[in-house]
């Protein structure tokens, strides 16, 4: 029972190539292909238009994501003053002075700058700490011991 469904040959496809071409035509028009390119030019152009369309979509997605990040960042920065019971004099955090690094070079440069700033900060705090200890200077050392131990 029901074997007739399995055994009967599938009906031949009645869709012609022309119908397929017309069915796909609006999509290719929408991604920038011209009538002439689609119908009369190199038929493989459609592959490249489709690939270009994918790249465009990915780039647009990236841009929208980045825009969302900026909006989110701005909201976070301003959130201290949006608080209903914020203390008087509360200020929002400053908005980033530079755009987010996107390229490899920019990322490398930013990382390097941050590392340099951290080193400077560590050096300054160490100097402060050393000054607070009032360690004897090298000159005083020489006077006391008569030799330079360095």
């Amino acid at each position: 029972m029901g074997s007739e469904l399995v055994e009967s040959p599938a009906p031949p496809s009645s869709i012609t190539y022309t119908e397929q071409f017309y069915e796909n035509f609006p999509f290719y028009l929408s991604i920038g292909m011209t009538y002439d390119q689609y119908w009369n030019d190199d038929c493989t152009l459609t592959k490249y238009y489709r690939k270009a369309h994918e790249i465009k979509n990915a780039r647009k997605n990236q841009e929208l994501w980045l825009q969302g990040m900026y909006v989110y960042d701005a909201l976070c920065k301003v959130s201290p003053i949006l608080h209903a019971f914020a203390k008087s004099g509360t200020k929002p955090e400053p908005y980033p002075t530079k755009p987010y690094p996107v390229t490899k070079e920019e990322i490398k440069e930013t990382t390097e700058q941050r590392r340099k700033a951290d080193r400077q900060k560590a050096k300054a705090s160490f100097m402060n700490w050393a000054n607070q200890l009032k360690l004897p200077s090298a000159k005083e050392d020489v006077k006391k011991n008569g030799t330079n131990n360095r």
């Binding site: 012609t16 190539y17 022309t18 397929q20 038929c43």
Partner: protein, 109 residues
């Protein structure tokens, strides 16, 4: 780059290629690719003639038929023509390939 067959006949250079427009025209004139196995004697010359529409639209059918008669290795030619005929529809689905070479075709006379 679309697949093409290039050859020289009687001092003229010819390029065989199928575009979507030429396939549309062929189908409008009654060409059915699936009949290639049932009616090869009718379908094969029509397929060959259709390949002229893209670059040599106004070439007389008599000349096309003469050229077809002079072509050697028809078995391989038909295979290649069928491949070329399918290309416009496949290009609507396939991903771009790294290297797509044209068929190097040389007439033996």
């Amino acid at each position: 780059m679309a697949k093409q067959i290039k050859f020289e006949y009687d001092g003229n250079e010819y390029t065989l290629e199928f575009t979507r427009k030429s396939i549309e025209q062929m189908e409008r004139q009654g060409f059915v690719a699936s009949e290639i196995t049932e009616k090869p004697m009718l379908t094969l010359p029509a397929l060959f003639a259709g390949a002229f529409l893209a670059h040599h639209r106004y070439l007389k059918r008599e000349i096309v038929d003469k050229i077809f008669d002079k072509f050697t290795n028809k078995q391989e030619l038909i295979g290649k023509l069928a491949e070329m005929y399918n290309e416009p529809i496949l290009a609507l689905m396939d991903e771009p390939e790294e290297s797509e070479g044209n068929i190097q075709w040389g007439a033996s006379w």
